[in-house]
Symmetry: C2
Subunit: 463 residues, 2 copies
């Protein structure tokens, strides 16, 4: 899995952000919000795990465009496929996939998207982003909830009239349960489920949907076994009370396998299995939001595969590494009337065609096993780092390459992030004090060693 | 503007849908909703205005993937740009444009996206679809509304805590006004604004936002001048009453220049100018939704340019022909804090890079003027068609190529649509009885003649 042309290591020419980045930020900021930009990228010179910025800085990238880089920058097989004309069917116009899809789309659905579908899920809706994936997933849950409630009867004339006035009482009473610290997107439906940060939610109207505490699992797990179990039990009790109180109106429960924005919080397979059992008992959709965890980082294409559920989730959402958004569902959650789940583009076949090549690379190069092995090495090195610098770094944890450490507090998090970037590690925060690792699947042992070296140096300087 | 390799005319080999389409529908339908598909397309053989389907049928396309085809199929300049490596910067990975944008993105924003910006609008947010464009536009309006209301004060601790519980009363009371028959998307915020069809809204929770009647303008305009003026006046009165009743809580009014899903309903420049004046007086955002009208079909890149507003709209949304979604706004409606309007991808630079070439083609080939001229020819021919077949076709209307006719009722609409498709015209409905024309900008006089010939034949057969 060596990538042709990948730099040997990070090398810094300027402070981050550099002067060329700041010039571009000033230009860019005249029209778009440029304040969130880490660096402007030299897209064509970036290769594999290394981002090259416009100041000539070469950075080892463990943030990977917010976990959206499956096989690194400019993988030769992706560029080769582009050159060979393999994507031409998807590049000469942008089709409405629900109206006149290219025949290649059907082949892509069958040979790639359904081949990698989570076990037990046979239906697929494609859209373009994670927010749209979640919006449509909950729509599917509402539609199915109403169908079951009507028991085969048609909607009443009063309901049909009321929905056009935004006043269909039976629909407006429907709810989706999400978890404190969860992140599910930023459009108004998805945002009503997001519970991670004030800046996302302030001043935006929200549906009055209930929230349940997420377990406060501590690491290392073996040292905190009893309190972790108790914390999970409390969360499950709260969920059951919420389902009981909202009975008849709750259409779905949505949860991330690992809270990817809310501080990389984890929970056990037993916990998630209990939610599956409970949602089945209350007959509400169990939606697993794999927008950030899906696509291979955890060592499996779907993080929830590790739970070993006998009864699969009802709906699994995706985006990011998958390059287009969407969700898989059971037959029961597929809409039965045309146009209820629909939009103009329904995804982008160009990114879908790239996904086909990406999946080929993942399979050919054994990148899922590599993510498991390299990820275990990364987490064990992060644990050791914490042992060497306990006042700076703690709570090392991860599944595969989906890993994190904690700083002391938000101020220490910001200092550590800056120190790492100055040393050539492109990295991002999670929650209020964690540092997240979301490298591409081509992140290997030599990249772990380099990242740990940079972390070590940063810890020494900060100490 | 002749397109190399474009077929000379439509030619049909089978009924529509043909046997190969039905085979593919059966395969596709195992995993996705395939019931909405007109035909499966031979993407690489489709050229210019002609869609080639998998049964070898060549159809003249005036639906154009729900108005999303700016320069037809496989324009040689787009394919040439792909081959020459011009899109390589955007094709070797899918970036998070808010984190590490390629330098080419800044150039694209400046040299294309801002160069074609509606007059008076200096700020830009890019996303991926029309629904996301609308969701983020209304978020911008809510955020600005709250900022003005606070008069520079920081949000209270109580507000910050409440928003995390979906219980920020001041935000939850905020509203956006939309119009009966309007279509603004299908995610939960956008869907609360959509008022066109029951099938979009049934069983989905909605915000209790108010609706105003859209004018019921009749064509030909000169025959209905007095009643049209009265109808617009009634709509404006209703809007003013709504703004008065919701004073302090209404953050925005959103409207399409032509109702693109709700039956191709039009209104006068004076009507829209009055809305601009009224929204200014009540200090609420005037959002013009140009997802379907934008990108050139009306003979201008932005349909609202024809209103001659001195005071521009606050926000203009786009998607479809623009190939990526987003909105332009004034400085006043730009978020002032990082991450309030944000998501992972913030659009797709590959489709943005294609837009750059598309705009070059539009300018070089004078496609806006052509859309005006050819559109005027199309509408005049549709008027004549209606005169020849008054019991079948009426209400011919259009601005540029954005045109429509009415059938008698929904049943007649369905019959006419089918008769047209059987004769090689790929076409779509609008509202309950209209036929919409949304051809690509490369639709020329010879295509008008061919389309009218097919319409004539269909009308004769149905009569």
């Amino acid at each position: 899995m060596t990538i042709l042309g990948e730099p040997e290591r990070a090398s810094m020419k300027t402070a981050i952000p550099g002067p060329r980045t700041e010039e571009l930020r000033a230009r860019h900021g005249r029209h778009q919000d440029a304040s969130t930009v880490h660096v402007y990228q030299d897209a064509k010179r970036s290769v594999g795990n290394y981002l090259v910025d416009v100041d000539g800085n070469v950075m080892l990238d463990v943030y990977a465009h917010i976990a959206a880089l499956p096989v690194g920058y400019n993988h030769p097989n992706l560029l080769g496929a582009l050159r060979s004309g393999r994507f031409d069917w998807a590049a000469g116009f942008r089709p409405a996939l629900g109206v006149a899809p290219p025949v290649e789309w059907v082949e892509l659905v069958e040979s790639t998207l359904m081949r990698i579908a989570p076990r037990g899920l046979t239906k697929l809706v494609t859209v373009t982003t994670g927010s749209e994936a979640v919006e449509n997933a909950i729509k599917a849950a509402f539609i199915r909830h109403a169908r079951v409630r009507r028991g085969g009867a048609a909607p009443s004339a009063a309901e049909l009239a009321a929905c056009m006035e935004n006043a269909q009482a039976s629909a407006n009473a429907m709810q989706v349960v999400s978890f404190e610290g969860g992140f599910h997107g930023r459009t108004l439906g998805a945002l009503s489920l997001t519970r991670s940060k004030v800046i996302h939610k302030l001043d935006i109207p929200a549906f009055a949907w209930p929230k349940v505490r997420f377990p406060d699992v501590r690491f290392p797990l073996e040292e905190h076994a009893a309190e972790n179990r108790a914390s999970e039990a409390r969360s499950l009790e709260e969920l059951e009370a919420t389902l009981k109180a909202g009975k008849g109106n709750i259409a779905a429960v949505i949860i991330e396998p690992i809270q990817g924005e809310g501080g990389d919080r984890h929970a056990s397979a037993a916990y998630f299995t209990a939610i599956r059992t409970m949602t089945r008992a209350y007959d509400v959709a169990f939606i697993v939001d794999e927008v950030q965890t899906g696509g291979g980082a955890t060592g499996a294409l779907w993080a929830h595969a590790a739970w070993g559920l006998e009864d699969p989730p009802d709906i699994v959402t995706f985006s990011k590494k998958m390059q287009l958004g969407g969700y898989y569902s059971t037959e029961d959650y597929a809409a039965r009337e045309a146009y209820r789940i629909f939009n103009t583009f329904l995804g982008d076949p160009f990114r879908g065609a790239q996904l086909e090549v990406i999946v080929e690379i993942i399979e050919r190069d054994g990148l899922l096993d590599a993510a498991s092995t390299t990820g275990a090495l990364l987490v064990s090195e992060l644990v050791d780092l914490g042992a060497r610098h306990p006042s700076i770094v703690s709570g090392a944890r991860g599944v595969g390459l989906f890993a994190a450490i904690d700083a002391r507090d938000p101020e220490a998090q910001a200092r550590l992030l800056d120190a790492l970037r100055q040393r050539g590690l492109e990295v991002g925060g999670s929650g209020t004090r964690s540092i997240r690792f979301r490298p591409a699947l081509v992140f290997g042992p030599r990249h772990v060693a380099e990242a740990i070296g940079i972390l070590e140096d940063a810890c020494k300087t900060i100490a």
